[in-house]
Amino acid sequence: MTTQPTTHDWAIRTRVYEFFVERARAPRYTDIATEFGISEREARAAYRRLHDAHALLLEPGGDRIRILNPFSAIPTAYTVEVGQQRYFANCAWDMLGIPGMLGTDALIRAKLEVVSKTVGIPVVGGEPQPDRDYLVNFSVPFKDWYADQIHT
């Protein structure tokens, strides 16, 4: 049975995002238990409820955060450098979503399909400065995005 996140769960969600922005990695539920002064069991259950509400995505069958849109908790072909931090994005949309969300300049590095090379896209003065008119291809219709977020 799916249970909706509680107000406390949403506060945990906010903290998870702050943690990720600060450290470029996802907190374990044990980190959250410590920070919030709750049991590990409670923190784990909160993660599960947030997962069920699509507020984050846990590893299949696990307790670790895999996706915290637009961030990826595992290495990908899309990186976003902001100051000394380097974030991984889930895809070519999210690599733009990270500096957009943070409202910051950045250096994006992304895999270019077909030619299999990495291209740099600086974000300067609040705007991307690509060296050509790239396209982002969406291969899955919106109605199916949440059916398999890892491959969408």
Partner: protein, 71 residues
């Protein structure tokens, strides 16, 4: 969502991988779409994207085909 140089490259990729062709959107449109999509993600009051907002966002950026329909 993957990055390409051109429509031709997308066709090549779809042919080689067997993936759906889908819809290609210019990078600068995706930039604006992403800013709108994630604008309040760090807000403590964020409670998820509601269907009406998703519909309005797609509409604003001209993403109106069946592909972008929100259930």
């Amino acid at each position: 969502m993957l990055l390409f140089r051109s429509e031709e490259d997308i066709e090549t990729w779809a042919g080689k991988t067997g993936n759906n062709r889908g819809e290609a959107v210019p990078l600068m449109t995706v930039w604006e779409l992403g800013k709108e999509w994630y604008r309040d993600r760090l807000d403590p009051d964020f409670r998820g994207l509601k269907p009406d907002r998703v519909r309005a966002t797609f509409q604003r950026f001209g993403l109106t085909s069946e592909f972008w329909q929100v259930p």
